[in-house]
Amino acid sequence: MTIDPRPLVPAHIESNPLLGTWLAAGDGTVEVSVGKVELGQGILTALQQVAADALALPLDLVHIRSARTGGPDQGLTAGSLSVLQSTPALRHLGAVVRQLAEAPGNTSQDETAAYLDRIAGLDSSLDLTAFTPQVGPAPNRAVGADAPRVDLPEKVLGRPRFLADLRPEGLLHGRVLRPPSPAASLVGLPESWSSPGVVLVRDGSFVGVVGDREDDVDRALASLTGVAVWDERDTLPDEHDLPAWLRTTASEPTELMTEGDVEATRSASYSKPYLAHASIAPSCAMARWTSDDSLRVWSHSQGIHSLRDAIAAALSIDRSGVRVDHVENAGCYGHNAADDAAFDAVLLARAVPGRPVLLRWTRSDELAWGPLSPAMTATVSARLVGGLVTGWSYDVWSQGHTARPGYAGQPGLLASAHVGGGVALPPSDDPPAAAGHGSLRNAVPIYELGTRRITGHRVTDASLRTSAMRSLGAYLNVFAIESFMDELAADAGLDPVDFRLAHLTDARARAVLKLAARESGWGDPLPESTGRGIGFARYKEKGAWCAVVAEVAVETEVRVRRLTVAADIGLVVNPDGARNQLAGGAVQSTSWTTLERVRFDRRRITSSDWESYPILRFPAAPRVDVHLIDTDQPPVGAGEAAQGPTAAAIANAVQAALGIRVRDLPLTAQAIVRAIEAEENP
């Protein structure tokens, strides 16, 4: 046996060991580079709080620099992992710095200035993994406080902040003409085509324009749309029969649990449609191509290092010549078209060497060509004996939940399928178990349910492109499990909260469930046609515990009036920010659950604007109250904990209001009518 002489260091320090990768000091402040990116979740502020405490510096002297190649590679900003992964790394960094630069015992201005000078004098090539800090943990000063978001003033005041606001010298604008349907190929574009002020870029079915003026490129795109001739084919499934299609299409099984078969007393099936990320901003990117070994890209990707590698692989160039910097765009809520837009910008910039090209997608392309959250269906069966579940069987069918750059061994960037000689993108994959699964995320219930059999079926069809959207498969799995728990509770003649508690031993889970019930007024009488329902899960089975109680009124449609969210997210770095994230997740899930569905015929996606893909609006937004458990346990993430529980809570509330169980999302008036018909004619 060999003994590793090095101290145990956090994973992200192990993979980014040099001090200079993380830290730069000068001008009386410290700049901490992170490999995470701001998506509207407030991560720059939360990490500023963690870093300031770790370095024993006042908050306003610490600036956080967003991910860029050259800074630390912390993988994706996804999966509610940023605080969990960054906190140990920043604390290790801080401990080394406090020790070597001799952090002062007090916070006087002079002492702090001298400390900053000593930090600036540290050797940037210092190996952080070679160090066992001898100083104790720094006290929490900023952590736990409601530090205001560093990025909000510029956004509220309308200052340049977003990627599309970049205006470098020599800027050109770019647009890409996307095919009208997923399987279309370009067969004709008039040789004589031209449009004022633009250059045409064409490579196979990839067509774009570049020009000095934004109105010129927009006019050129409209003109191209009118003259391009496409060969289109019917390749899409029947949007009205997705559960049957998923169950009968080729798939690969994953047997997650095989404890035994179940002689069920109840069985039911649930489904969700395809959903769109539906970011308020269309995806965009800027690129400047100087030469094969000097390419710069500005992107709002969630993973700028894997984007760099995918771009280099797609172009067969060395990745050392590609530099990618993150710049903010609107919230993406998962893998939207950010990476695809970056590659589009690169292809356009290659045609005009030396000039920066700012490429922006159209709204319709964003809704129709961005990766979709896959349609899913699940069947749950259980055996109920004397008020307790003794056996549980679960099958879920879904396309894969990731097509991020590098998936399935391919660059996976959209335009690489459109350029001449391009090949179709492979079927989407699922993240591995260690990353919390995709289709099978949260497929294992938190409850004691006796003998369990749980199987995932990853559908390998790729006619519609799918990838990660906030909470991945957990949204449908928690909706199905928690709806079914209510059905079983009714069979047992028990209150839904009591029934859950009877199957729950985890103390933190029980505390969250009880908190939600208490704060929501669970059991208090409600008016006619209104109902209350609960949903609960521990995200990814190892993340945050979150319970949601929904109060809905059902008249001509489902109206969610109030959501009570209770959560244990471990140590809360920024309580106000965590509440904002959890409330936002619950409200977004309300939109998915009551309204959203990607529409298509057998050839084209037809929900390509805000009228055909409606999302929740101000008059329909519920009141949300968020209650956090106070704990100093390690942070476990917050951003994706509420989505699944909210969906189930709403469906269970509809059942309480109407006596109708709706198992197919979204919970529209039509879905309720279909559920009534199904109950009348089983």
Partner: protein, 151 residues
Amino acid sequence: MTRLTVNGREVDVDRTDDTPLLTVLRDTLGLVGSRFGCGQGLCGACMVLLDGRAVPACDTPLWQAAEATVVTVEGLAADGPSPVQRSLIDHQAAQCGFCISGIVVAATALLAAEPAASEQRITEALDRNLCRCGTHQRIVEAVLDARGDLR
């Protein structure tokens, strides 16, 4: 050449009549605070005050703004944050913040017309503004609070 007044300054714009006002603001005049969200007047991210009325700049052609007075989100902050902007920051009423410029403009137009607007009136006035992050409640609370500052 089209003449209009933007944030109190007269400008002459040399773009064709059908160019969207948003493109003129962002590309010609460098006022990028009005954000491009859809280009179809359906999301509200690009709202500006056109002669005091909140309109989406993306489907307002330049000819419609000729001789008119345009105020953008930048113009509302010309003398420091406006009451609506200050209240939104105080309430931390945004997540990604891409929709917030248009919401500032829509809320400002509402409170100018109805200084005591009710919560229901505020949600109705913001019906044309989409927020995808789910920050609706904080935004409405911030606008409600801004009423006092305006009086």
